[in-house]
C-alpha cells in the first residue's frame, strides 16, 4: 500500500547570503505516521532543510507540499498552522520561566489585558503528558531542570500547538544513554498516536534503532532514501561519507608509568559559584591517553579550565612533571610544555576574524622565533610557520591570509590541533577535539592523538562523545556532578555499565 506523503519537498535549493550552497536541489518526502531519519555529516544540510520546512529559513528555490497542497512559509507560525513544529538542538526556552509559561509563550492571547487561562492550559498539558506516559514539573524555572527534562518541555511546547509533524534536531546530542532510551519511548508513543516524526541525527545506531525510513544527505545533495529494515549501519555510513570509512583507529598496547600531570584534591567553582569540581585526584602518565567521559555540564569544562590556568583553583594542587603549577597563568604553563585544544574552538581556540597566519601563532607568538627587535613581530617567520603546519596537517585553507572564519569547522579544528602540536608539548589537553568535525578530520585528529601518545606524550582527553573516549583512552574516568564515578579501562567495561555511571550510578564489579 503506497500512502500519499504528508510532506513533500521538491528541488529545494538554499544559498546563504555569503554564497554558501547549503542545499543543491533536494527532494524529500515523509509519509504519515512514520519516524523518518534524516542522516548526514555536519554541514550536510540536514538542519537547513528542516529549518526551511519549519518556516525559519526561506528556500532560494523549490516547492513544499503539505498534504498535496503547495505551501509557502514566511515564519515558523505559518508552519505551525500547517501542523509542522520543530524542536531545535539548542533549546529555545526562557531560562527563568517555568515550564508552563515557556509552553504557552506566544499563545497567551494578544490583547493588552487578556488573561492567561492557566487552568485550561494545565488541563491540556496534563492530558498530553498522560497520553505520553511521562511527567515533567511545570512550575519550576526550566534552568534548574536537567537537559533531558528541558527537552521534554520543548517537545510538549510543540505538541501543545497541535502539530502533526514533529521535527527533532539532534535530540540525543546532550542526553545520557538512559535519557535517550526514555526519549525513544516517547517517540514510539507519539508514533502510535499517529504523529509523524522527523529525526535528524548523525548517529547511525540511533537511526537504525528508531526510524522506519532514512534519508541521507551529503554536502547539500540527496543521496537517497531507504527503508531502515532493508539497510545496515555500514551501508548508511557509506552513503553518508561517500566512501567506506569505518573509523579505523590503531592503538598498539603501551606501558605508561611516569606521571606527567598529577591532580590532588582539586576543587573548582563554576560560573554561578557553585562547586563544579569536588575534590578530584588523578594522574595522567607519559604515553597514555587519559579520557574523561560524562554528560556535558558535570564539571568537565571547569576542570579543564582550572588545569590550563584559566579558572581559579579553590583548593588542591596541580603538579606538572613534579613542579607545582597550581594557579599559574596559561603563558607559564605553555612555556612548561602544556598544549590545550579547547572545547570552544571559535570563541576560545581561534580569533575568527583574524587570518590563518595570525591564528597559527596564537599562544606561541612570544617565542624567540617570532620576535624581532623593539617588540617587532616577524611576519615572515609567522607565515613560514603557518604554511608549514597547514601543510603538515593537511588543513584546507583558501590562503594563509584568509580569515579562519572562512574555514570549515573540521579545518578550523585541524588548525588548532596543528598549532598546539607545533608547541612541541609534553602534556596535551584535548577537550571535545572532534565535536562538529567531519568524519575524515575526526579520523585524522583521533589518530594524531594516538600518535602523540605513542611518542610518550601525556594526553588528557575530555569528550562528550562516548565512542571517542572508549576508542582512544588507555584509562578513562566517568565524571558526574564534579566527581569521578569511577576510573576504568575501556576494554573492561560494557557500554551499558558506562551509561549507568554517566547517570551517576557507581560501577560495581
Amino acid at each position: 500500500m503506497e500512502e500519499a506523503p504528508i510532506i513533500e519537498m521538491k528541488g529545494i535549493i538554499k544559498i546563504y547570503p555569503d554564497g554558501t550552497k547549503a542545499l543543491k536541489g533536494v527532494d524529500f518526502s515523509v509519509k504519515q505516521g512514520e519516524i523518518h531519519g534524516l542522516l548526514g555529516e555536519n554541514g550536510a544540510g540536514k538542519t537547513t532543510l528542516m529549518k526551511i520546512l519549519s518556516g525559519m529559513l526561506h528556500p532560494t528555490d523549490g516547492k513544499i507540499f503539505v498534504n498535496n497542497n503547495e505551501v509557502r512559509f514566511k515564519t515558523p507560525a505559518d508552519a505551525l498552522a500547517n501542523g509542522i513544529g520543530m524542536v531545535h538542538q539548542h533549546f529555545t526556552l526562557v531560562d527563568v520561566f517555568d515550564g508552563l509559561h515557556n509552553i504557552i509563550l506566544g499563545m497567551e492571547g494578544h490583547g493588552l489585558f487578556s488573561k492567561i487561562d492557566v487552568e485550561k492550559a494545565m488541563g491540556k498539558l496534563q492530558k498530553l503528558m498522560d497520553d505520553l506516559n511521562f511527567q515533567v514539573p511545570l512550575d519550576v524555572p526550566v534552568e534548574t531542570l536537567p537537559v533531558g527534562v528541558q527537552q521534554r518541555i520543548e517537545i510538549l511546547k510543540t505538541l501543545y500547538r497541535d502539530v502533526d509533524v514533529l521535527i527533532l534536531d539532534e535530540p540525543t546530542a546532550v542526553l545520557t544513554p538512559i535519557e535517550v532510551k526514555e526519549l525513544f519511548d516517547v517517540l514510539k508513543k507519539l508514533k502510535s498516536q499517529g504523529k509523524t516524526i522527523i529525526f535528524i541525527s548523525h548517529k547511525l545506531k540511533e537511526v537504525m534503532e528508531i526510524t522506519d525510513r532514512v534519508t541521507v544527505l551529503r554536502k547539500g545533495e540527496l543521496i537517497g532514501t531507504v527503508n531502515t529494515n532493508e539497510t545496515s549501519p555500514k551501508e548508511l555510513a557509506k552513503m553518508m561519507v561517500g566512501r567506506e570509512v569505518v573509523l579505523r583507529i590503531e592503538k598498539p598496547p603501551k606501558e605508561a608509568e611516569t606521571p606527567v600531570l598529577q591532580v590532588q584534591d582539586l576543587w573548582v567553582k563554576g560560573d554561578r559559584s557553585q562547586d563544579a569540581v569536588k575534590g578530584l585526584t588523578f594522574e595522567v602518565k607519559a604515553g597514555e591517553i587519559f579520557g574523561i567521559a560524562g554528560v556535558e555540564g558535570n564539571g568537565q569544562t571547569e576542570l579543564i579550565e582550572a588545569i590550563s590556568g584559566l579558572r581559579k583553583i579553590e583548593k588542591g594542587k596541580v603538579i606538572l612533571n613534579g613542579k607545582n603549577i597550581t594557579g599559574r597563568p596559561p603563558k607559564e604553563l605553555y612555556d612548561l610544555g602544556v598544549a590545550h585544544i579547547p572545547e570552544d574552538r571559535i570563541h576560545m581556540g581561534l580569533v575568527a576574524e583574524m587570518s590563518v597566519t595570525e591564528n597559527s601563532i596564537l599562544g606561541l607568538h612570544w617565542r624567540e622565533t617570532f620576535r624581532g627587535p623593539i617588540g617587532m613581530l616577524r611576519w615572515n617567520k609567522a607565515k613560514e610557520h603557518a604554511a608549514k603546519i597547514v601543510k603538515d596537517f593537511e588543513v584546507l585553507v583558501p590562503s594563509i591570509e584568509a580569515p579562519v572564519k572562512s574555514l570549515s569547522g573540521g579545518n578550523q579544528q585541524k588548525l588548532i590541533v596543528a598549532r598546539e602540536v607545533s608547541k612541541q608539548p609534553e602534556f596535551i589537553i584535548a577537550s571535545q577535539p572532534t565535536r562538529g568535525v567531519d568524519v575524515a578530520s575526526t579520523e585524522y585528529i583521533r589518530n594524531y592523538l594516538i600518535k602523540l601518545r605513542n611518542e610518550n606524550k601525556a594526553v588528557l582527553l575530555v569528550s562528550a562523545d562516548l565512542d571517542e573516549v572508549l576508542q582512544l583512552s588507555d584509562r578513562m574516568a566517568i565524571m558526574y556532578e564534579g566527581k569521578f564515578v569511577g576510573i576504568v579501562k575501556p576494554e573492561e567495561v560494557t557500554e551499558e555499565q558506562i551509561g549507568l555511571m554517566m547517570g551517576g550510578i557507581k560501577h560495581e564489579s
Binding site: 596559561p330 605553555y334 620576535r371 613581530l377
Partner: protein, 343 residues
C-alpha cells in the same frame, strides 16, 4: 612594509559611498532650508581645495582631529569604546603650555602632552581594570570633569596677564615652523601623520599590537593564548591617551595665530568628538584615519567659504558631517541596500 591592498578596497568603497550619500542628503537639507546646494558645495570644495591656501587650511584643520581619531580608532581595534579623547586634549594643551614656558622647546611640549594624556587616561583604565567600570560611562563623565577642571586651571593658574581672555602662550622657541607662509599649516601636521603610521605599525607589526588586537576581538581567546587582557586594556588606554594628549599639545604649538587657549576653550573644544566621526569614517584604521581626517579637515576649512560665499551657516556643515558619520556607522544600511538592489 607590505600593505594588504585587497583588504582595504571594500571598506574604502563603502566609506566613499557613505560620504557621497551624506553629501547628497546634506544637499537635500540645504535645498529645503532655502539654500542652493550646488552653490554651497562648490563654495565649500573651492574654498577647501581650490587653492594652496585652501589646502593648507584643510590640512591644518585635519591635524588635531587625526590624533583624536587615533584615540578612538586604537580603542576600537583593541576592544575599547574610548570616547575620552575630548577631555584628554585639554590637559595635553595645558601641559604643553606649562612645560614650554619652563623649558621653551618643542620636545618638552610634546612630552608634556604625552604625559598628560597618559595620566588622564589612566583614570578610566584603572576604573575598568580594577573596578570593572565600563569605559563608555567613565570617559563620558570624565570629559565633563576635564572640562571644568581645565577651565579652573586656565582661569586661575595660567591666565595671560596682558589678556585675561587667554592663557599664557607658547614661547616663540617652542612653536612649530609654518610650512606655507600666511596659513595655519605647520609641521605639526607631520606629527599627526607620523602618529598614524606609528599606530598602524604598532598594531600590525609588533607583538604588543598583536596581543591588543587579539584581546580586542576576543577576550576569551586572548586569555587562552596567554595574553593578559587587563594589561591589554591598560596599554590601549595609554596609547589612546598619548594620541589625544599630543593633539592638545600640537594644537597649541603648531596652530597660528593664538598659540594659547582662548576664552571658553573655544579653540580646543570638540576635537575629541570630531575624532570619533573621523575614526568611524576611516573605519577605525590608522591609515584610513589619515584620509578621513583630511576629508573632515576639508569640511571644516570649506565651511568658512560656504558661509561667506553661499550664506550657509556653519551649523549646516556640522549637519552634513553628522549625516556622513551616521551613514558610515550603519554598515547594516549598506547591506540592506545591497539586498534591495539584488531583488
Amino acid at each position: 612594509m607590505k600593505v594588504d591592498i585587497k583588504g582595504f578596497t571594500k571598506p574604502l568603497i563603502e566609506s566613499l559611498i557613505a560620504v557621497i550619500i551624506g553629501i547628497l542628503i546634506g544637499a537635500i537639507i540645504l535645498a529645503f532650508s532655502g539654500y542652493n546646494p550646488v552653490e554651497a558645495y562648490s563654495a565649500l570644495f573651492d574654498g577647501a581645495l581650490g587653492s594652496k591656501y585652501g589646502w593648507a587650511m584643510t590640512l591644518s584643520a585635519a591635524t588635531p582631529i587625526m590624533l583624536t581619531a587615533l584615540t578612538f580608532g586604537l580603542g576600537a581595534k583593541t576592544g575599547l569604546f574610548n570616547i575620552g579623547g575630548e577631555g584628554t586634549v585639554y590637559f595635553g594643551a595645558i601641559a604643553a603650555l606649562i612645560l614650554t614656558n619652563i623649558w621653551g622647546n618643542i620636545l618638552m611640549g610634546l612630552l608634556g602632552g604625552i604625559i598628560a594624556g597618559i595620566a588622564w587616561m589612566a583614570i578610566p583604565a584603572f576604573l575598568k581594570v580594577f573596578r570593572g567600570v565600563n569605559e563608555v560611562v567613565s570617559t563620558i563623565m570624565l570629559n565633563w570633569v576635564a572640562y571644568f577642571l581645565a577651565l579652573y586651571i586656565i582661569i586661575q593658574k595660567i591666565p595671560n596677564p596682558e589678556d585675561p581672555n587667554k592663557t599664557i602662550a607658547i614661547p616663540l622657541s617652542a612653536r612649530f615652523p609654518i610650512i606655507i607662509k600666511g596659513t595655519e599649516l605647520s609641521w605639526a601636521f607631520a606629527i599627526s601623520v607620523i602618529a598614524a603610521l606609528v599606530a598602524y605599525y604598532t598594531l600590525w607589526h609588533t607583538t604588543l599590537g598583536y596581543e591588543l588586537r587579539v584581546s580586542g576581538y576576543n577576550e576569551r581567546a586572548a586569555r587562552y593564548a596567554g595574553i593578559n587582557p587587563k594589561k591589554a586594556v591598560i596599554w590601549s588606554f595609554i596609547l589612546g591617551g598619548i594620541m589625544s594628549g599630543l593633539a592638545g599639545a600640537i594644537e597649541m604649538m603648531g596652530r597660528p595665530p593664538s598659540y594659547a587657549i582662548s576664552q571658553g576653550m573655544a579653540n580646543i573644544y570638540g576635537y575629541g568628538f570630531d575624532g570619533i566621526g573621523v575614526s568611524l569614517v576611516g573605519r577605525n584604521h590608522p591609515l584610513g584615519i589619515i584620509f578621513s581626517g583630511i576629508f573632515f579637515g576639508m569640511l571644516k576649512a570649506g565651511a568658512t567659504a560656504m558661509q561667506i560665499e553661499a550664506g550657509v551657516p556653519l551649523e549646516m556643515v556640522r549637519v552634513v558631517q553628522g549625516i556622513i558619520v551616521v551613514t558610515v556607522a550603519i554598515p547594516g544600511l549598506l547591506d540592506l541596500l545591497k539586498r534591495v538592489v539584488r531583488k
